[in-house]
């Protein structure tokens, strides 16, 4: 697709929790570009529907010079190549495993050479890049200031993430979205609220750009790719091998749904079984001592364990970007309590010793499922 004839943008987001946000961004792109006389389409990936809580999903906006050019982008499930990928939660840079997909994709997978990856984040570009798969093509990482904006399916947390992203797009794609057009479109979408125009300007001015060279990023993430069989090698009768009791699914891991993960203080655990009982994904394994360790490959980070745990600060939800692997931690605790507890304190920001109180400031639990009262925004 000729770059000067059309432009494709994808929004990668947390299924259900950010659906409305993704839709608003894609629609605003088309409506802003329309002011320049372009045409376009906005759509959600069919295979993601119905979405699952937190499981990465995608929506798209394609803008074209005319209807003929746009036809190449219609009747498709998703563009195979995009000019810009927008991750509206920075933990998504660890990779995208959609529930209808096969394996884990690097976040930049569809981004063309010298395209853009925009990430909404409070972190520095270096911190985000450190958790992004090593680049196979050069691109520019843009950090749009602001944390992940979560909201339920039916409500919208109107914190202007969409307008800041639109401002950032006006910066990098001025031939498609003029800043004034972005402002005019945002004013209409905000039903005349002029603060939307200011947010577009913030996104335009404050998005920090960091050129990424070939090979920059991490190679620490799991490679999870599968070959699809042909009709002669598939089992007849629409049959898939079931998991045997106690066996976990090697093809679909689910941890890509996580924005926070539970860490456990084994010293204060009273072995009450609540986390093990209430975990909706059966993530906990019982240790020989009767503790419950989290299998991080299976954990979606829903936070229910932290909610039901009766012991204060025994299970603490921690920002997923702080972790570089999915290794189980109980072995470390078993080998050396002191080292484990130091790690626990460093990660969680709370003291491993309940008599001492907080070791640092405990961040509010940003996971909407774990802490539903913080996710309720105003009605759209």
């Amino acid at each position: 697709m000729a770059e000067d004839r059309s432009v494709s943008i994808e929004v990668v987001y947390r299924g259900i929790f950010q659906k409305t946000l993704a839709q608003r961004i894609c629609r605003s792109v088309v409506l802003a570009a329309r002011k320049k006389g372009h045409t376009g389409t906005a759509f959600a990936r069919y295979g993601d529907s119905p979405e699952r809580n937190g499981v990465p999903a995608k929506q798209f906006a394609v803008v074209a010079a005319d209807e003929l050019e746009l036809e190449a982008s219609m009747a498709k499930y998703e563009p195979s190549v995009v000019d810009v990928s927008i991750a509206v939660d920075d933990t998504l840079v660890k990779g995208v495993e959609s529930w209808a997909w096969y394996g884990r994709q690097p976040i930049w997978k569809p981004v063309r050479a010298n395209g853009w990856l925009l990430v909404t984040s409070d972190k520095k570009p270096a911190e985000v890049l450190a958790q992004t798969d090593a680049a196979e093509r050069p691109y520019t990482l843009g950090i749009v200031p602001g944390g992940a904006s979560f909201a339920g399916l039916w409500v919208y947390k109107d914190d202007h993430t969409d307008f800041r992203v639109l401002g950032a797009l006006a910066k990098i794609l001025p031939q498609w979205i003029a800043l004034d057009d972005a402002k005019a479109a945002s004013l209409e979408l905000a039903k005349g609220d002029r603060s939307a125009v200011a947010s577009v300007q913030v996104g335009y001015d404050s998005t920090e750009m960091r050129p990424v060279k070939l090979g920059e990023g991490t190679s620490g993430h799991e490679v999870l790719q599968f070959t699809k069989p042909g009709w002669t090698t598939m089992r007849p009768g629409i049959i898939v091998e079931a998991r045997k009791p106690g066996e976990r699914n090697p093809y679909y891991k689910k941890y890509g749904a996580r924005t926070m993960r539970p860490v456990v203080n084994f010293d204060t655990c009273i072995k009450c079984t609540m986390c093990w009982l209430d975990c909706p994904d059966e993530c906990f394994e019982v240790t020989p001592e009767g503790h419950y360790e989290v299998v991080y490959e299976a954990c979606i980070g829903c936070g229910i364990c932290a909610q039901v745990c009766p012991v204060k600060d025994c299970i603490v939800m921690v920002d997923e970007l702080k972790f570089t692997d999915n290794k189980d931690k109980w072995q470390l605790w078993k080998q050396d309590h002191a080292t484990y507890n130091a790690w626990f304190e460093d990660m969680s920001g709370v003291s491993a010793d309940p008599k001492k109180g907080a070791a640092g400031s405990v961040p509010p639990n940003a996971n909407p499922a774990a802490n539903p009262t913080t996710s309720a925004g105003g009605d759209e």
Partner: protein
């Protein structure tokens, strides 16, 4: 009720009974040692229900007989029973068949070898009991094998063939035997009932192999898939349907060897075609009045006419049909069905046969007839009209070109 007729001479492979088509099917259920059958009353399928229930009540048959709350459940019950390794039987008629339609579609998709009868009956509305083939034909694209029987004897024979072909691992698709309501389902005829020993020689035990749903074989069947998987699954079913032709031939050969019945071809039953210039083709019991007409018109007028009866509609025996029909000057296709708005307004069979012959350099003139809908009898004047029109077409004298001819309909 089936009346036992004393056999003229003792046979090691069979006895004789005076039985309806439904009773013949019930005997086949007994002989095939079916594990689970599901029932819900609708005429004419209810004839099988009653006959099977009587066999169970008389201690002659041991089968799990489940009366469902409707046809949809009826077909779901046997589908699930089949998945856990049970040999099954089910059936319905007319709109009852349609009420089960979702279950019918998924059974073929899942490659579960359910054997059913469709006691052919006109679709409501208007409510009617007589035979019409549109109920069976509605599933023609889904992966069900569709044979049609002419007599009660053939109904029994086809049922035994059906389990053998359906359960063959190369096929593993469901079969629905078409039985014309009233003329076949509810008319008694002398039927040769094979002995258990002879049937056991023909029909092996059902074995789903590694597709068996069982705690010792943990599998998930029928997961949701997306566009990345569906086409391969459809292609697998296509391959299974292609395999069915060869498996039917094998079964037909063995059946003839053991029971001495079944005719020359598993797919076509030809009547007085050796010297025929013109033939008609159709399915099920309409062959009976047509055969009478052939004998009469040959005797009275010396017409060189014959009949080809199609025994399997799915898989469609294209090669056999083409090879047979290209010998004739004209072929009249008699549809006991309709396909409103179809090419030339012809019936389903007409357009299939026309399509099969299209690539032939030498092909007969094809004339479309619709007759006997709703169980209307095909009387001799109608049969005569069909042959006269087909003969005229052979000479190029038939008015109306490709227009489909409705026979015996009041203007």
């Amino acid at each position: 009720m089936a009346v036992e007729v004393k056999p003229k001479e003792t046979s090691e492979i069979e006895t004789e009974q005076l039985a309806t088509g439904c009773e013949a099917i019930a005997e086949a259920i007994r002989l095939a040692d079916v594990d689970v059958m599901a029932a819900y009353p609708i005429r004419p399928y209810d004839g099988v229900m009653q006959a099977a229930a009587k066999l169970i009540a008389n201690g002659k048959m041991d089968v799990e007989y489940i009366v469902a709350d409707g046809e949809h459940s009826q077909f779901e019950i046997v589908k699930h029973a089949c998945a856990v390794g049970a040999r099954v039987f089910v059936g319905s008629s007319g709109v009852g068949w349609f009420y089960a339609f979702e279950a019918i579609a998924v059974t073929a998709g899942l490659r579960l070898p359910v054997v059913a009868i469709c006691g052919n009956r006109a679709l409501d509305d208007p409510g009617a009991f007589g035979t019409e083939h549109n109920d069976s034909l509605a599933v023609r694209d889904l992966g069900w094998l569709l044979p049609w029987a002419e007599t009660a004897q053939e109904a029994l024979d086809l049922a035994l063939m059906a389990w053998r072909v359906a359960e063959d691992k190369r096929v593993s698709l469901p079969v629905a035997i078409g039985l014309d309501g009233a003329f076949l389902t509810h008319s008694q005829h002398i039927v040769k009932i094979p002995t258990q020993a002879a049937v056991d020689k023909f029909l092996p035990k059902f074995d789903l192999g590694d597709r068996l749903l069982h705690p010792d074989n943990p599998i998930t069947i029928a997961p949701q898939v997306d566009q990345d998987w569906l086409m391969e699954i459809r292609r697998q079913n296509d391959a299974a349907m292609r395999n069915a032709l060869g498996v039917i031939r094998e079964a037909h050969t063995d059946f003839k060897k053991i029971f001495g019945r079944g005719g020359d071809s598993p797919f076509l039953d030809e009547y007085m075609t050796d010297d025929a210039e013109v033939v008609v083709i159709g399915q099920g019991t309409l062959s009976l009045p047509m055969k009478v007409a052939i004998r009469r018109l040959r005797k009275e007028r010396g017409l060189k006419i014959g009949l080809v009866r199609l025994k399997w509609f799915r898989p469609f025996p294209t090669e056999e049909v083409v090879k047979s029909l290209r010998r004739f000057k004209a072929v009249g296709v008699i549809d006991r069905d309709y396909s409103f708005g179809s090419p030339y307004y012809g019936g389903v069979l007409y357009n299939e046969i026309r399509s099969a012959l299209y690539s032939q350099a030498k092909r007969p003139v094809i004339v479309a007839f619709i007759a006997g809908l709703g169980g209307r009898e095909i009387e001799q004047p109608m049969a005569t009209e069909i042959f006269e029109k087909t003969m005229a077409a052979a000479k190029g004298d038939l008015a109306g070109g490709d227009t489909c001819h409705w026979i015996g309909v009041r203007e």
